[in-house]
Symmetry: C2
Subunit: 642 residues, 2 copies
Amino acid sequence: MAGHFVTFELATEPVQVQTGTLLTEAAHQAGIDLLQPCGGQGRCGRCAIQVTNGAVRQRSKLRLSQEDLEQGYALACQAVVEGDVSVYVPPQESLERRLTTDLTVAEVAVPSGYNAASDQPVRRIALTLTPPSMDDQTDDWSRLQTVLRKETGISELLVSLSLLRKIGSVLRQGEWQVTAVLDSMGNCPSCPARLIDVLPGHLSSDTPLWGAAIDIGTTTVSVWLVDLLTGQVKQQVAEYNRQIRRGEDVISRIIYASKNGGDSEMRDLVLASINDLLKRACQREKANQRKIVRTTISGNSIMMHLLLGIPAESIRRSPFVTAVNHIPVLNAREIGLDIHPEATVDCLPGVASYVGADISAGVLSSGMDDSEMVSLFMDIGTNGETALGSREWLVTCACSAGPAFEGAGVQHGMRATRGAIEEVWINGETFEPTYRAIGDAPPRGFCGSGLISLLAEMFLTGIVDKGGNFNTTLPTDRIRQGEHGWEYVVVWGDGNSQLSTITITHVDVDNLIRAKAAIYAGFTVLADSVGLPLEAVEQVLIGGAFGKYINVEKAVEIGLLPDMPWDNFHFLGNTSVLGAYYALLDQKLRDRIKDIASRMTYIELSADNSFFEAFTSALFLPHTDLSHFPSVSKTLRIPKIP
Amino acid sequence: MAGHFVTFELATEPVQVQTGTLLTEAAHQAGIDLLQPCGGQGRCGRCAIQVTNGAVRQRSKLRLSQEDLEQGYALACQAVVEGDVSVYVPPQESLERRLTTDLTVAEVAVPSGYNAASDQPVRRIALTLTPPSMDDQTDDWSRLQTVLRKETGISELLVSLSLLRKIGSVLRQGEWQVTAVLDSMGNCPSCPARLIDVLPGHLSSDTPLWGAAIDIGTTTVSVWLVDLLTGQVKQQVAEYNRQIRRGEDVISRIIYASKNGGDSEMRDLVLASINDLLKRACQREKANQRKIVRTTISGNSIMMHLLLGIPAESIRRSPFVTAVNHIPVLNAREIGLDIHPEATVDCLPGVASYVGADISAGVLSSGMDDSEMVSLFMDIGTNGETALGSREWLVTCACSAGPAFEGAGVQHGMRATRGAIEEVWINGETFEPTYRAIGDAPPRGFCGSGLISLLAEMFLTGIVDKGGNFNTTLPTDRIRQGEHGWEYVVVWGDGNSQLSTITITHVDVDNLIRAKAAIYAGFTVLADSVGLPLEAVEQVLIGGAFGKYINVEKAVEIGLLPDMPWDNFHFLGNTSVLGAYYALLDQKLRDRIKDIASRMTYIELSADNSFFEAFTSALFLPHTDLSHFPSVSKTLRIPKIP
């Protein structure tokens, strides 16, 4: 049987294999081991490659979209070589981006009692007009308005020039039967409803009416495709915010945007992320992107400014003010979203420079603003936004924790993607660690939850003391002097590129302690500001994608979270996109976000001495004052083996 | 004294002249006789030429703008040759265009009692803001709104994204002292005021606040530059509507626009006319075009649709409906006007396909809608729009007269420019004509008033009978058989290109009679429709630029105008731009135009049998029923010399 040449673009030379060989096997021969977390069963999609020349027989196309197939993607574990082929192995990041999508899908319940007719600002109305005649020469637009008025009672409508341009032809194409799409949310609170589109003919009532809830995270952009009639989330997609290449955190992005042309590049990058996600969601749903007629957008204030091309410079300079917190209703055309050009784009309101729409929306989806319980809402991230309150009152702050828990500012930190160590256990006798990496892949670094877990274990096993200092006398070679001072080795490298040595340094520990101290100080100051002890907090609601993976026990042990019964902690996932989804569906919920943004009292910590004091007290593991951490004290009292 | 070579680009060879020779004289030697209606005194500007090489000494630069001088224009009658020069003689049309500008300037009185503070929708407000601080981190936009609310009581404002983008830098540039420009006319009647601009610092109160009143005539586009604070018209400019090259009348333009890409070409052409006029007006006034913050636009329905890129096809097809009569308030950016991008653009409302904003605005500026007298308002042009009524009631129609009175559809017809015969007298004994041509230039054809005058004279002298038939037995060689049947020769050509033979043919006479019959039938049907005899009309108000030059006596003699005392006729000039000017200044007058457009009852003549009867009866000179023309009957009874 003749051999076939398989060329891998990453490899130096083609390899020759027999007919019937799988691409994964051919790749292995070429020195490339493709990931097969599912065991080569074609289930996980991680071994996707692109056939650039020749063809392979695909035993299974599961996990590949039509778009993927058109672009030549195949699952290497399912691709049988039957002739010469060239294969491109996508770099990790692009593969991750493809896959991130699938990782974020979660069941979302439609709010109970959702009724599009009464809750949804967008309406689709079938209209039958009397055709014009020599006895009735009313102009097209007045004719349409008259019938709309009869059907809906709406006496005045906003309409765009581009819509006026097509009304005449649509009326005639539909032979005076048309469907009007209008949004009762005009450009301002007192503005009349806005006509978004007029379509020829009458649509059947089960034709979906598309909307999209969008969350622009500093790290991840999420898009939910929603049928506004049923309220159902039909698709959830996400990818890294493409602005990441111009800075991991918001401050570096503001700086980049303020330089020559940086603002428009930033806009283009985040728009590319959003538009690509919208496209992907619609392709999967076989929906027409141009039929999306309403979107809500959440995100922190910096993301919102950058999206809209509004200079964000003043946000990072004292006295830290935004250009605008309550953004008027815009349309897709002026922003640059690839959906219906007249679609309503409702950017949700923020509170302050560092407490943005993501927090207003998050507080809504946490439900704390409508609860009698005193709740603490936290978004554990760079800005460490925290809100405290109940139905009666709300206070909020941002505590500038820095990006340590997002993997930045830590030598071997990384985002929570494949190969990130997310949990660590250290043997208290041998000081040998075991760990779990995301995707059960070879470890590449630590993500936030891994760092929390590692720090807690190091503290409990005495590798570091309460001040974060290394105990250099312990009988293990894992504690050693590295390039940057003392460090603890979690993973020994294998000497080649497959596995690197992964350590946590003294500097990393310091950064983590500062970060957790800032967050802890933030909510203690919030509680102080309203004269409440922390013990009065009845539930802790943790939002942000990061919040999904935290091990509460470990987080309490290092003093990041307050010491209270674990049942009081609730992990809510991406509360920002959830809030955007609620606001997309229901005008009353949208109004509630506005109300939250308006009534939340913002406490500026950088001007607050008590914050500095609280911060200093929290610069210990778990805290200077152990009385705040009774459960940790108890653990610490268990005598160690000498 | 050495001779200098003067090269005229129109001439075959250079001519040699002595130092001190005038260019007009040199041109004469070269066989080019430049027009000098003012007698070579440098007053009229008609002999302007362009020096393309070398230089001349200019004794006077009167009539030349700075822009002209920069482009090398000089008045030939004032230009002294002192060296070799090359001279370009502009073609007639471009010279006419330059001059049209000056021809339309007229004194316009500011409406008595005009008070910008109470009448003008646009306001300029000086604001002083408290700078933000750590104790007051309100966002820029809310901060601005709060102060505006205090100063004006306006609680809600519309703002564009592009303005939001610059607010932060303007506030800081002005060190928290800024000037807000806002238009209380939002995008809809119930919409809040709209912020147009925010400028750094406080402006002195005598800095003009610029607006522009624009009239898009089928033939001529007019722009008035207005200081909205004083109400004064500072500049009036006009030029041919550049769409003319794609069709003289509205129907041919609709057809052109409906073909591939024709619509955007039509937009571009009329925008080029408007933008060029705006530029010229601002250059003359040394005003910054980008500071024009409010415009009103008048014009017939077809011109309005073509400007906005709204398909106009349905206007020319039964049942003749427009896409939109009441156009929402737009801004300059979306239309493409080269003024402040956020400037309000208020397109005035029309009544029907062939009764547009020019008539609504015309009726306003005629004052008939607020008068107790029964008035007849006429725009004698292609569409023959007519309105009848008083303070109590208004009816209107368009009678499709065709373009004969605008010089089209008549063999030697032309627009009312230089060389157009505007008045004719015929000797009743010799049948020899004398005439007056515009600019006292060599005659090139007949404009509308010339045709009216000629037809009347031909009728009164018996050259044509009441049916328009030529009396071929008269003793004159001026009545002859031409290529197109019988014709009357008004001008004998001189055998070379300087002077052509100019005639009026049997077909021309028929066309003119049909045109005047349509107009006459139009207003008789209007009067009938409300049960009034024509005699009840107390005044006849004639609008349109054309209306300025009509000889009433002659127009009555051919039965174009009703036979009534000459004192009852009033010529109002361009009532359309005048109405746009009133609407620009005063919101109450703008509302009155809307009211006029809404309450005018439109009578569709093409569906009206009585129109056809009235038209048939009017197909005679002056009319089948002479009892309607007592003064003409009297003239006709004067016995003719046999």
